[in-house]
Each structure stands twice: as structure tokens, then as C-alpha cells.
């Protein structure tokens, strides 16, 4: 099943280039269903039988390429498959107005999915690098789709950030290879010494990944890129792409370096990562509150939400097993809930923008009457983003709060509570305007596919408030559970 998850998207990427336009729609749908089916089968397999390893072409590591599917990777594979499914249906309807963009969107979409799956399944640092490079290129390509000047400008900034990030990452990986002679994460985990070389390597890798994840203060490239792209692109970028580099960061710190990460240098650095997260939450929320364009509001919201993920490091490193376990579950649940909710949010906002013709927050007056379902989808996703119950976002926040208590780190506890209020402040700006009766705009009609795909994703984020035990038990069944454990 594992190679299929790479083969299907790659094959469909090529099909989308080769096949004539009129067959495209059906082909894409078939591919999506195959993709979701493969993801679910693999998930079931891992759930029942535990982690699975697969050596591509039967070349064993360290020579060959090993794919590893454990609880974490299948959870993420399912996340990307489901999000991609709904985004694709949304895009099929959304892109009808963008004839030219459509031809390039689909190949890039499948490449993006292939590289994501590659990253979730990769077992060594170099394959992660390859996946990251492909992902970055596909993502940048998608930002440029409209070919408008601001979009190209944003894409260029994104490209520089991605390349710089890759460079730093690759330098760190090279140092590790020079010192230990292997790049497989499990082997490195056993070999790693707490010395200056290792610290420099991990430092370089981390800086590269922070740049790619757009963690404050390296977030400068994200808002124009995510806020300027077409709605389905923004949804994919915010829900999935930035999560990939975070996932690698978590793997490096909690899996590869799990033996040495309570060393004082790494411990302090982990606290530093938490401080960056705090900065992201405060700065991102403030910028979202000030944003004039609704898509920029949502993009800055991503900057802020990524900050919560950073709390994983101070909460899980150098603390008790209980605290680390809670932090790991909380961060992963946050990643999932944010993935679903943010995709839904970008999609619903995209529909609103499509209907009024542009994206000023203050011009959203009257949308509650004209486009109620998309607004409702926005509302549901906002509940999860704000971390209010019932939602996956709330359960994630709850777990992080418990972790902060278990490790006696009160400052993170306060940050989590305050962060929720800040989020409410910017989200309700949109609601407030939308209840104003007097519409200042002509509304163009939009397809109901746009409404309902967004609603479905938002509903998943809400439903996770009741069924978060499922993904959490899947995460627990994996070998990799975070530091301290």
C-alpha cells in the first residue's frame, strides 16, 4: 500500500498533463478516491498490525530508501488525503473561472500530494530533504498560478525563503552525515552524542525548518503567499504544506535527538522555540486583527496558529513522561484540527471573496443573508481555530494546558488562555461585519459545491471535539511518541 501512495499522485500528475481537458474532471475524481482509499487501507493496516517498514526496490537501509508507516505518518497521510479530497472538489468548481490557471493547477496539485506523502513516509533525513524540496517547488508554483504581479512577488519571496531553508537544512544534514555516517533517523537516534557538532547540525536543521514553517520571526513570506494565492491553493498551503516542515522538526527533536535532548543546550533551545511560538501567537493575532483584507486575516491567523505547535518543544523536552505525552498528543491534535479548520476557513473566505469581487473585511456586509452556508462554514472552522468547545482545537488546547500544568510551566498555560482570546478578537471582526444588514455590494452567484466542501471540512474539525480519541489512540499505537517517553 505504501508505494501506491507515492505512485498514484505521481501518475495522476502526469495524466493531468497528458490527458485532454474534457477527460480531466472524471480522471481527477477517480484519482482522489483511489488516493483516499489507499490512505484509509494503510491506516487500518497500521492500526491493526502496528508500524510497517518498506524498502523501495528491496534495497535495505542505509543504502536504499526506506519508507516507514507508523501511527503518526498514517494519521498525517489520512489528513492530507481527506483535505486534498475536499479541496480538489472545491477547486474543480472554483477554477471554472480560471481557465488558464486550471491547466497548471492539477499537475502541481498531484506533485504536492506526492511530496507530502513522501515526507510523511520518509525514514531518513535525506529523503525528507528531497520531499521538502519538491514540496517547496510545487507550493511556489501554485502561488504563481494567477501570474499577477503581487502573486509573483510573493512567490519569489516564498521561493527565496524555501531555498534558504533547504540550504540550512542540507548543511545540517551534511554535518550529521560527516560525523555519524548515516542519515536514517532510528540509527542516528542511537548514535547521537551531545557535542558541539551535533548541536550545530541540529541548530542549522532547525533554522532551515523554522524558515519553511514560517515561525515568527521567519514568517514574513507567509502572509503574502498564502493571502495572495487562489483560495484552494491557500487552503492546501496553510492546512498541509507548512505542517510538513513542522513534522520534520518534531521528528528531529523528539525522535532523532530524543536521547540527548534533555542536555542543557538543547533544553534551553527548546524553551527558545517556545518563545518563538509565543511571539508567533501574539504578533500573528495582532496582525490578523489589523488586516484590511480578509484573506490576509486568515493568513496571519495561520502564523499565529503555528505558534501553538511550537509549544510542543518546551512542553515535551526535559519534562516528565506524562507532560511530554500530553504535549505530543495536544500538538498533533492541534495540527490535525488546524489542518481541517484552516482549509475550511480559506475555502469559505474564498467563496465570500468570489461573491463580492474583492476581499476587504469591511465590505462583507450582508453576506450572512446572501451566502449563509459559507459563512456558517467559516463560523464552525473559527470555533476550532479559537479553541472553543466543542472542537478538535479545544481538545488540543485542553491537552496542552494539562501538559503545561503537569510540567509546572505556568507561563505556557497563561499564553494558551490569552491566545484563545486574541483569536476571538480577530475572528469576530468578520462575524460582526457580516451581520450588518445593508449590503454595499453586488453579489455574484457562487456554486453550492464551494459552500458544502468547506462546510464538510469545518464539520470534521468540530466532530473531532467528540471523537478525538480515535486519532489519539492511533498516535499512541506508533513507536514514536515524543521525548521523555
Amino acid at each position: 500500500m505504501m508505494p501506491l501512495l507515492l505512485i498514484i499522485p505521481l501518475a495522476w500528475a502526469i495524466l493531468c498533463i497528458l490527458l485532454p481537458q474534457r477527460w480531466l474532471s472524471l480522471t481527477i475524481r477517480a484519482g482522489l478516491l483511489l488516493q483516499v482509499g489507499a490512505a484509509l487501507l494503510l491506516t487500518a493496516d497500521v492500526y491493526v498490525n502496528g508500524p510497517i517498514e518498506y524498502a523501495l526496490g528491496d534495497w535495505q537501509a542505509p543504502l536504499g530508501i526506506a519508507l516507514i508507516a507508523d501511527g503518526v505518518s498514517v494519521t498525517l497521510i489520512s489528513l492530507s488525503a481527506v483535505v486534498a479530497l475536499f479541496v480538489a472538489f472545491y477547486a474543480q468548481s472554483y477554477l471554472q473561472r480560471y481557465e488558464h490557471e486550471q491547466t497548471y493547477f492539477w499537475p502541481l496539485f498531484w506533485f504536492l500530494l506526492a511530496s507530502l506523502n513522501g515526507i510523511w513516509l520518509a525514514g531518513d533525513l535525506f529523503n525528507l530533504y528531497v520531499g521538502l524540496e519538491l514540496l517547496g517547488l510545487a507550493a511556489v508554483g501554485m502561488v504563481t498560478l494567477t501570474g499577477e504581479k503581487p502573486a509573483l512577488h510573493a512567490a519569489l519571496r516564498y521561493l527565496y525563503a524555501a531555498l534558504l531553508g533547504s540550504l540550512a537544512y542540507l548543511a545540517g544534514v551534511a554535518i550529521l552525515y560527516g560525523a555519524y555516517g548515516t542519515l536514517a533517523i532510528p540509527q542516528l537516534g542511537e548514535l547521537l552524542d551531545a557535542n558541539i557538532t551535533t548541536f550545530v547540525a541540529i541548530g542549522l536543521i532547525s533554522i532551515g525548518l523554522l524558515l519553511k514553517t514560517a515561525i515568527f520571526p521567519f514568517h514574513y513570506w507567509l502572509p503574502p503567499a498564502h493571502g495572495g494565492a487562489l483560495a484552494p491553493v491557500s487552503a492546501l498551503l496553510s492546512a498541509l504544506v507548512v505542517k510538513a516542515s513542522f513534522y520534520i522538526l518534531a521528528r528531529v527533536w523528539l525522535d532523532m535527538a530524543s536521547e540527548i535532548n534533555s542536555h542543557v543546550v538543547l533544553y534551553s533551545a527548546a524553551q527558545g522555540l517556545g518563545v518563538l511560538g509565543a511571539g508567533a501567537i501574539l504578533w500573528g493575532s495582532w496582525q490578523a486583527y489589523k488586516a484590511a483584507q480578509v484573506k490576509m486575516l486568515v493568513a496571519y491567523s495561520t502564523v499565529a496558529q503555528l505558534g501553538y505547535l511550537m509549544l510542543l518543544f518546551p512542553l515535551a523536552i526535559g519534562t516528565t513522561a506524562v507532560a511530554a505525552g500530553l504535549a505530543w498528543q495536544g500538538a498533533m491534535l492541534h495540527l490535525l484540527a488546524h489542518g481541517f479548520a484552516k482549509a475550511a476557513m480559506f475555502m469559505s473566505v474564498g467563496t465570500l471573496v468570489l461573491a463580492i469581487g474583492h476581499g476587504k473585511v469591511n465590505d462583507l456586509a450582508g453576506v450572512s443573508h446572501r451566502i449563509p452556508i459559507s459563512l456558517f462554514a467559516f463560523g464552525l472552522s473559527a470555533v476550532s481555530i479559537m479553541g472553543l468547545p466543542p472542537s478538535g482545537g479545544f481538545n488540543a488546547k485542553w491537552l496542552l494546558l494539562q501538559s503545561a500544568m503537569a510540567s509546572q510551566q505556568w507561563w505556557w498555560f497563561i499564553l494558551l488562555v490569552v491566545g484563545g482570546l486574541l483569536t476571538a478578537a480577530y475572528v469576530f471582526r468578520v462575524f460582526r461585519i457580516s451581520f450588518v444588514e445593508k449590503a454595499t455590494h453586488e453579489f455574484s452567484s457562487t456554486s453550492s459545491t464551494l459552500d458544502f466542501t468547506a462546510l464538510a471540512l469545518a464539520a470534521i474539525a468540530i466532530a473531532m471535539g467528540f471523537f478525538s480519541q480515535w486519532p489519539l489512540s492511533l498516535l499512541q499505537s506508533s513507536g514514536f511518541q515524543g521525548g521523555g517517553l
Binding site: Q329, S368, H369, P372, I373, F376, V383, L388, P389, P390, F394, N395, W398, L399, L401, Q402, M405, A406, F413, V417, V418, G420, L421, A424, F428, F431, R432, F435, V436, E437, G465, F466, S468, Q469, L472
Partner: protein
């Protein structure tokens, strides 16, 4: 078969409103009949299930839904006696408010949205009533905040948007405090202690001073978080501002949903988390009683100063809800009965008063008290209902309000808190001072000027039937709850049953 069946009952009760909400959201604006049928149907089904669950409790069986939601923490809905008290109130009043709202909003825009969130609001209230532990309570408490906001800003005017903002500032901050308190409670005392049990989870003091210090701090954090919704002074600022909402929303806010959710939460924390005896030993009840007393007097004094009818009623709510809190703090079964029974009585009476205010506004365009001169002749039934509600608030026998005040005062004597009796007497005098002039204007002053904005002409009845009959019904309940207080199905009997269980573990 039986246990599986009762497992689903609490979910079904919450689910009926939730499902109704979802279908209503999807309905096109014009399908008024379908929407009304759905609304009323869901309300009746809910009422029937609640009645059935009451029967189950009488037979000693408790319906319970429980599953793990995050590691170590259960999602728990449980139909115990206290939850049925609140669930019964909300399901009865929901039915009447729905009828009233259908009449009130006839022909106005955005009705799908309105009734959708209206149903969501009731679903959250039912969830609050049935929640079996603090975590589940918190879920529905916050859901209530979110589902009420669209109702408050429903009209979309500058004033209502401003009210909505104030409402959110207060309730979301309160929610954050409550979340902190609940999270700390789970972290310090575990999931077991956070489950609502009849005599409370803590039995005796003596686990060391640090524990009791934490419990005291947490208690006041709980009160601060819940007190925003219960409109305890100084956290009451949002309530009078929220008056710009349509009348059925005000009725819902003041009688059933938001304010009551706060008061009910305080009841839960005192009785079922801490346990009344333990809370008494901890010494946290007296400060809370003093806070409640201040709120009672402050609310009444402010009500005196208002010239708008709905604003006066709003401040009256501030004052009346704290009767419940005061009753909770009176250590002894009689005070408890007074507090619990007032939870119901205040709901029935306040809903009547708000319906009446809505009728005056909708029918004749009357918003200010000085415009009410001579309205008694033009709208006799509404004015009689208003009079009954007002007498109830003052505590004149044989209305429901008399029963509440009687038990509260006896409870205060029994608990040796004579000052509380004085507070009750002063407050009743203030109630009379702000309600009697209205009654005088209604019945004894001649009409001075033409009605400000007469919209519904007097025909067979004084106003639209759907506006009139719910008012008459709730007014009859307000009298009946007092007259037949000793009957087996009266609020008083039920409150007594609960109270007996709280004190006899």
C-alpha cells in the same frame, strides 16, 4: 435492552434541538410552515423525552451517556434530579418561546438564521442541564456563548452590534476564566473529583492547608467564570446592553438560557462538585452570599432609575437571579429549596414579563415606561399577565415568587443569617417601588397621547394570537406554581426532593 436504550436518551434530548437547528439552517427563507412545524415538533418531542426521564428518576433509574473524549476524560451526560429541574424548565419555556417567536418575527427577514441559532441555543442549554462533569459542562457553556451571539446581533443595527461586542467581551473572558479553573481542577484533583455527585466530591476538610487554599482559589475562579453569565455585580454589564435584541431573545436570555446557565453552574459547583457541607466548612459560602446580596440590592436600585421598560426588566433580572445564588449559600435544606425553586419560578415569571414587554412594543410601539399610561384598557390580557409577573417578582401571595421568598427567608433564619432576611425585605420593597408605578400607569392612568406606533389593530383579541397565548399560559403557570405548590408535580416538590438528597448522602 433497557440499559442501551437509556444510554442514548440524554443524547437524543440534546440532539433533537441540534438536528432541528441543522435542518432549519438549510431551509430556504420562504418555507415558513415547514420551519414552524419543525420548531414546534422538536420542542414537543424534547418535552416528552424530558417527562419520560423524570419518570425514570422517580423509579430510581438514571439515564446516562458516557464515552471517553480525550485520554482519561469522559464526555458525560446524565439525567439526575437536578438536571431535570433545569431541563424541565428549558423544555417547557422553549415551547412557549418558540410559539411566541414565530408570531413575533412574522414577516421579518433572516428567520432561518434566527430559528437555527435559537435551536442551537436550546441544545446548548439542554447540554448544560444534563452535563455530568465539569468538562462536559464547559463544552456546552461555551457553545451557549457562541450560539447566542447571532441572536443578540440579529437586527444588525449599530446598537445591536455594539451590544454583541460587549456581550462577547464579557462572556468570552468569563469563559477563559472558567476554562482555566476547570483545567486546573482536573490537573490538581483528577477527573474523578470533577464528576457531579449528589453530595459533592469532597467530604471533610483536613487534607492540609495547601489543598484547601487551592480549593478556595478555584472556587472563586469558578464563581468569576460563571458569574459573568449569572450577571453577578460587577460582572453584569453586558446584560442591560443586550436588551437591543428582539423580545423572544431577551426572554430566552433572561429566563432560560444564558443567565440561568450561570446560576445553574454555581448550583452545580456548590452542591455537586464541592458539596454544600464542605463548601460551608471551607468558608467560601459567606463571601458568595455577600456578593449575591450586593447584587440583589444594586440591581434593584439600578432598575428604579430606568425609564425604558426592557432595561428596567433587565436590571430586575440582575437582582432576581442572585436570589438563586443567595439561596444556594444559605446552609440548610430550606434555603436550598428556596434557591432551587427560584431557578424555576424566576424563569416562568421573567419570561412572562418579557413577553408582555414585547407585546407592548410590537402592538403599540411602546418602549418607555411613561408611554404605558392607560394600556390596561387597550391590552387587558397582556396587562393582567404583566401584573401577575410583577406581583410575583415582588413576592405577593399566591404567586410563585411568594413561595421562593418565603423559603429563602425561612432558610436565612434557619441558617442564622438574619442580615439576609433584611436584604430580602429591602429588595422586596425596592421591587415594589419599581413595579407598582408601572401597574399604576397600566390600570389607573388615562391614555394621554396616541400610541407611539400602533402596528397591530385591535380585532377579536388585543394583539396577534401567537403573541398573546404564550403570555397567558406562562402567567397562569406563575400563579399555579404558587397555588399548587404542594402538588406532587410542582417545582417546589421537585426542589424539595433534590434538597433532601443533597443533605442526606
Amino acid at each position: 435492552m433497557m440499559p442501551e436504550f437509556t444510554f442514548w436518551l440524554p443524547v437524543v434530548v440534546v440532539g433533537t434541538s441540534l438536528l432541528a437547528a441543522l435542518i432549519i439552517f438549510a431551509l430556504p427563507e420562504a418555507q415558513q410552515r415547514t420551519r414552524s412545524v419543525l420548531n414546534i415538533g422538536a420542542a414537543v418531542v424534547k418535552l416528552a423525552i424530558v417527562a419520560y426521564m423524570v419518570q425514570l428518576i422517580m423509579a430510581g433509574d438514571i439515564a446516562e451517556t458516557r464515552f471517553e473524549i480525550v485520554p482519561g476524560i469522559d464526555f458525560l451526560l446524565r439525567a439526575d434530579a437536578l438536571s431535570m429541574l433545569f431541563a424541565g424548565l428549558s423544555s417547557v419555556l422553549w415551547l412557549f418561546t418558540t410559539l411566541y417567536a414565530i408570531g413575533y418575527l412574522e414577516g421579518s427577514p433572516h428567520r432561518s438564521r434566527f430559528f437555527g441559532f435559537f435551536s442551537l441555543c436550546v441544545a446548548s442549554t439542554m447540554g448544560i442541564a444534563l452535563a455530568g462533569n465539569l468538562f462536559t459542562f464547559l463544552i456546552f457553556f461555551e457553545m451557549l456563548t457562541l450560539s447566542t451571539y447571532p441572536l443578540v446581533v440579529h437586527r444588525g443595527t449599530e446598537a445591536s452590534l455594539k451590544a454583541g461586542r460587549t456581550y462577547l467581551r464579557y462572556t468570552l473572558s468569563g469563559g477563559a476564566v472558567l476554562l482555566t479553573a476547570v483545567a486546573l481542577f482536573y490537573g490538581l484533583f483528577g477527573a474523578e473529583a470533577a464528576e457531579f455527585t449528589e453530595a459533592g466530591g469532597f467530604q471533610t476538610l483536613g487534607e492540609g492547608s495547601e489543598v484547601s487554599l487551592w480549593l478556595t482559589i478555584l472556587f472563586f475562579m469558578f464563581i468569576a467564570g460563571l458569574g459573568v453569565k449569572a450577571a453577578l455585580v460587577p460582572l453584569h454589564g453586558w446584560l442591560p446592553v443586550a436588551m437591543v435584541a428582539p423580545a423572544p431573545v431577551s426572554a430566552l436570555l433572561h429566563a432560560v438560557a444564558v443567565v440561568k446557565a450561570g446560576a445553574f453552574g454555581i448550583v452545580r459547583v456548590v452542591y455537586n462538585v464541592y458539596g454544600i457541607e464542605f463548601a460551608w466548612q471551607l468558608g467560601v459560602l459567606l463571601p458568595l452570599a455577600i456578593l449575591a446580596a450586593i447584587t440583589i440590592l444594586w440591581g434593584s436600585l439600578q432598575a428604579l432609575r430606568q425609564i425604558e421598560l426592557k432595561k428596567r426588566l433587565a436590571y430586575s433580572t440582575v437582582s432576581q437571579v442572585s436570589y438563586i445564588v443567595l439561596g444556594v449559600c444559605l446552609f440548610g435544606p430550606i434555603g436550598t429549596i428556596g434557591g432551587l425553586v427560584h431557578l424555576l419560578h424566576q424563569g416562568i415569571m421573567k419570561v412572562t414579563l418579557f413577553f408582555c414587554a414585547g407585546n407592548y412594543a410590537e402592538t403599540l410601539g411602546i418602549h418607555r415606561i411613561d408611554e404605558l399610561d392607560g394600556t390596561g384598557k387597550r391590552m387587558p390580557l397582556t396587562s393582567i399577565a404583566f401584573t401577575i409577573g410583577a406581583f410575583g417578582m415582588i413576592g405577593v401571595p399566591p404567586t410563585a415568587g411568594f413561595i421562593s421568598k418565603w423559603y429563602l427567608a425561612s432558610g436565612a433564619f434557619a441558617a442564622g443569617m438574619n442580615w439576609a432576611v433584611l436584604v430580602l425585605i429591602i429588595s422586596s420593597m425596592l421591587n415594589a417601588a419599581y413595579f407598582l408605578p408601572i401597574l399604576y400607569r397600566l390600570w389607573f392612568k388615562p391614555q394621554k397621547q396616541p400610541w407611539p406606533d400602533e402596528q397591530i389593530a385591535a380585532a377579536r383579541f388585543e394583539t396577534h394570537g401567537l403573541l398573546l397565548w404564550p403570555v397567558v399560559a406562562t402567567a397562569v403557570f406563575s400563579i399555579a406554581a404558587g397555588l399548587f405548590a404542594a402538588h406532587a408535580f410542582s417545582p417546589l416538590t421537585w426542589a424539595t426532593l433534590i434538597s433532601v438528597r443533597e443533605y442526606l448522602p
